[in-house]
């Protein structure tokens, strides 16, 4: 356990005291890990959480023994923003069957990036539906796999996207592009909360 990973660890500064989360979602193989890798200051790491069917973190090992639990693997990267703030990017599992766990696993996230492969637009529909349901701010980024180029209007129509949700093109392999995606998301989050400051708070844990 003290081998390669520990030797190459890049620790945070001593004054870091505020962790933030952004989640990258989208269908299988759409470039989530690639995007995390492009912008992360560490090589993406992988870990897993064991969840019960109720969507709660396992609270008793006996539940693991009874196989009532589901294991969800995800990868993540990190961006040190300043002396105190550090942003973690999570590549959410793409499989639909994990989505019932999503709000618990990534509760408190600033927002989400929905990655779309224009050759398989329909794969993203489910992710968008869940995010809307949870009230999580999100943007849509079309990852360039050399697929057909559609007018933004066509993509919005295909995804049944609310007009206020930002939509942009990106190349998940490019750091500059990944950075622009994140900035677009955070600007959107800022706008969304500024606009809803007077609205009563959203309950923290919504059930599916």
């Amino acid at each position: 356990m003290d081998s390669a990973t520990s030797e190459t660890r890049t620790p945070l500064g001593a004054s870091a005291d505020n962790g933030l989360k952004i989640v990258i979602v989208g269908g299988f193989g759409v470039g989530k890990t690639t995007l995390v890798r492009s912008v992360s200051e560490i090589r993406p790491l992988n870990t897993e959480e064991t969840m019960t069917r109720a969507g709660e973190a396992v609270d008793d090992i006996s539940e693991v023994r009874d196989k009532k639990a589901t294991t969800v693997a995800f990868d993540f990267g990190r961006i040190t923003l300043d002396a105190r703030n550090v942003l973690y990017l999570f590549g959410a599992p793409g499989q639909e069957r994990f989505w019932f766990l999503w709000d618990r696993l990534f509760s408190g996230t600033l927002g989400a990036v929905v990655l779309v492969d224009t050759r398989r637009i329909d794969d993203s529909w489910y992710a968008i539906d869940r995010l809307e349901h949870h009230g999580t701010p999100f943007i849509v980024a079309c990852n360039d796999f050399g697929g057909p180029t559609y007018a933004p209007r066509q993509i919005r129509e295909a995804l049944d996207l609310d007009p206020h949700v930002p939509l942009l093109d990106c190349d998940a392999r490019s750091r500059a592009s990944g950075k622009q995606v994140l900035i677009t998301l955070v600007e959107h989050v800022k706008k969304q909360y500024a606009g809803s400051a007077q609205v009563s708070p959203v309950p923290e844990e919504l059930t599916l």
């Binding site: 356990m1 003290d2 390669a4 990973t5 520990s6 660890r9 620790p11 945070l12 500064g13 001593a14 005291d17 505020n18 962790g19 933030l20 989360k21 912008v39 790491l45 992988n46 870990t47 897993e48 959480e49 064991t50 709660e56 973190a57 396992v58 008793d60 090992i61 006996s62 693991v64 023994r65 294991t71 693997a73 993540f76 990190r78 961006i79 040190t80 923003l81 300043d82 105190r84 703030n85 550090v86 942003l87 973690y88 999570f90 990534f106 509760s107 408190g108 600033l110 750091r175 950075k179 994140l182 900035i183 955070v186 600007e187 800022k190 909360y193 500024a194 708070p201 959203v202 923290e204």
Partner: protein
């Protein structure tokens, strides 16, 4: 790199945590809570506890600890709860303005500045 938890049979996890029940809603640890060691890994500590104390000489997020330990996040949180209760680590939790979970506008601005400076 191998996936954490790959070799973690329920029996190994049971041994690590003493099979304790762990009420998730009470756990103070978020995935991105930053953990800092408050002491050196002295002798007589469970090896995972000692490893955590070594890894947290500087602030380290729960999720990074889990990845380094190759343990599921939930088990890592149980180990951290032990260390926290014993005063061996401290926890820096994510800042939130309200129970609503709405992010602090100042923090959002800091995030934007940080991202633009990348």
């Amino acid at each position: 790199m191998s996936r954490p938890g790959r070799d973690d049979s329920p029996d190994r996890l049971y041994t690590l945590t003493g099979g304790r029940a762990h009420a998730a809603p009470d756990s103070p640890f978020d995935l991105v809570t930053l953990v800092v060691a408050e002491c050196d890994p002295g002798p007589g500590l469970q090896s995972e506890h000692a490893t955590i104390l070594r890894l947290t000489q500087l602030p380290t997020a729960v999720v990074e600890l889990a990845a380094e330990l190759k343990l599921p996040v939930g088990i890592t949180k149980i180990l951290l709860s032990d260390l926290l209760a014993a005063g061996r680590v401290s926890a820096r939790h994510p800042r939130r303005t309200a129970a609503s979970g709405v992010p602090d506008p100042d923090v959002l601005e800091q995030v934007l500045v940080g991202l633009r400076n990348l």
